[in-house]
Symmetry: C2
């Protein structure tokens, strides 16, 4: 999906919500466990119920890998289902990969070419040649970890060099030598509040993928106040607060209602921003 | 596997070689393609031929994931084969994972508990809570990326803070607040040469996993001169130079011979070090 197509989706649907498919067999409604593939059955129902209110889906690979071969089957079925039924939704594989060049190239081929996923989260620690293989596919995106939502983000990401540049700032600046706002986004945690201002000084146009709203305590208002651009520039993810809002047979319906609530907030924010 | 057991293996067998199972369907001998599971057939033959000359195996997950569900099946079969037939060999899942706490915890359970793998490579960018979930399993290890073998390692890992501490040094120092030499190792690329001296100043006792000897151009002599400790302290990985040394029906035999050559060098180095 191109940047223009993404922006169009956001403004047509008036939402920049991403639903995180962090599907955990221990947390899904019990009645699904009798299904042949409970994880896929859950995802399918959640997707059908939330699709009108979001523009992206983000399965976190860890949840699928933790189930071994079965998990990979559920993951692949979910991606195929999205590609076939919701081709206008942006798909993010939250994989946090990053390896030496030839290995990153293999990951890129798998996720982008074979599975037709739009984007992949990538960890920057190994530098340029771990990232650039992901930038070789037209319409595909690298989403580079910059400033994450967790407590440990303070351990290394905020370390300033001798000229005062913090590591996440160096990642933002340096990576713009490798890609641009048409093929690269950054992960910035919703818990980072005013730091979005600092991010926008270095990356004024890039889309930011923002996890951490909801269960992790980030505020949608703060994120938008400091991070939104004229093109929106934000994809805000919510996982647990939507997909596990209810554990009965009505789980999908309730997830849809929760997604709708967030989308309504987003609509208001987008409309106010355009005034 | 405990540190003591690992050291015992190294000194009994007089080798600290790790064979990297970077198995690529495009590079394995053609006659294997008619097997039901060519990747596993290749791995099994390579393992049987090289086991006397190494103390560890390191499958790189990217190579398996790139084949989707089939790849995961080959990976799981390889791990089961190692656990059942070579329980004294140290198994490294080269996965370079690292995510927020609850997600890292899922990875830890998968790799350590369900698959009984000894260790996992982890990327440090997200900090403490992305690493500590992997340290909760007795006899299991985190192998944290410190200074990698690739060109891009210069982009961020060498950046010095205002007090002159470089990022890889901060990773080494800070992570010792989370774990110790009994449950944590570091990845240091063989191409880093004299930098091993700097590493040893901060991590004098930790084992180092050293990729980059062979195809990537690192020197075994340099690594040992600057990085070896009284307990050896090194696991040196070779992948392509061993497993793809020959592409005929004799591939496994030739791989065994290549592994033997490296092991003989290692034996000499270990014996000289003890004089």
């Amino acid at each position: 999906m191109t940047r223009q197509e993404l922006i169009q989706q956001i403004f047509e649907k008036k939402t920049f919500l991403c639903v995180g498919l962090d599907t955990d067999i221990k947390k899904i409604p019990e009645h699904l466990l009798k299904e042949e593939d409970p994880i896929f059955a859950f995802n399918k129902a959640i997707i059908d119920a939330t699709a009108p209110y979001c523009i992206a889906y983000k399965p976190n690979l860890a949840f699928y890998e933790s189930m071994g071969v079965k998990g990979w089957i559920s993951f692949e079925k979910t991606i195929t289902y999205l590609n076939e039924n919701y081709p206008k939704h942006f798909i993010i594989a939250d994989a946090k990969r990053g390896d030496i060049g030839n290995t990153s190239a293999m990951y890129a081929r798998t996720f982008f070419k074979e599975m037709n996923i739009d984007s992949l989260t990538v960890a920057p620690y190994m530098g340029e040649d771990s990232v650039t293989p992901f930038l070789q596919y037209e319409g595909k995106w690298v989403i580079l970890l910059a400033l994450t939502s967790n407590k440990g983000s303070h351990d290394f990401q905020l370390t300033a060099d001798s000229e005062g540049e913090r590591l996440f700032e160096k990642v933002l600046r340096k990576s713009q030598e490798w890609g641009n706002a048409d093929n690269m986004m950054y992960v910035v945690g919703a818990t980072q509040g005013k730091m979005f201002e600092d991010i926008r000084k270095i990356a004024p146009d890039h889309f930011l993928l923002v996890p951490g709203v909801g269960a992790q305590g980030g505020s949608l208002e703060d994120v938008c106040q400091y991070g939104m651009t004229k093109d929106c520039g934000l994809i805000v993810n919510s996982s647990r607060a939507i997909i596990y809002a209810d554990k009965t047979e009505k789980f999908a319906e309730v997830a849809g209602e929760e997604a709708k609530k967030v989308a309504e907030q987003m609509k208001e924010i987008l409309e106010n921003a355009q005034k």
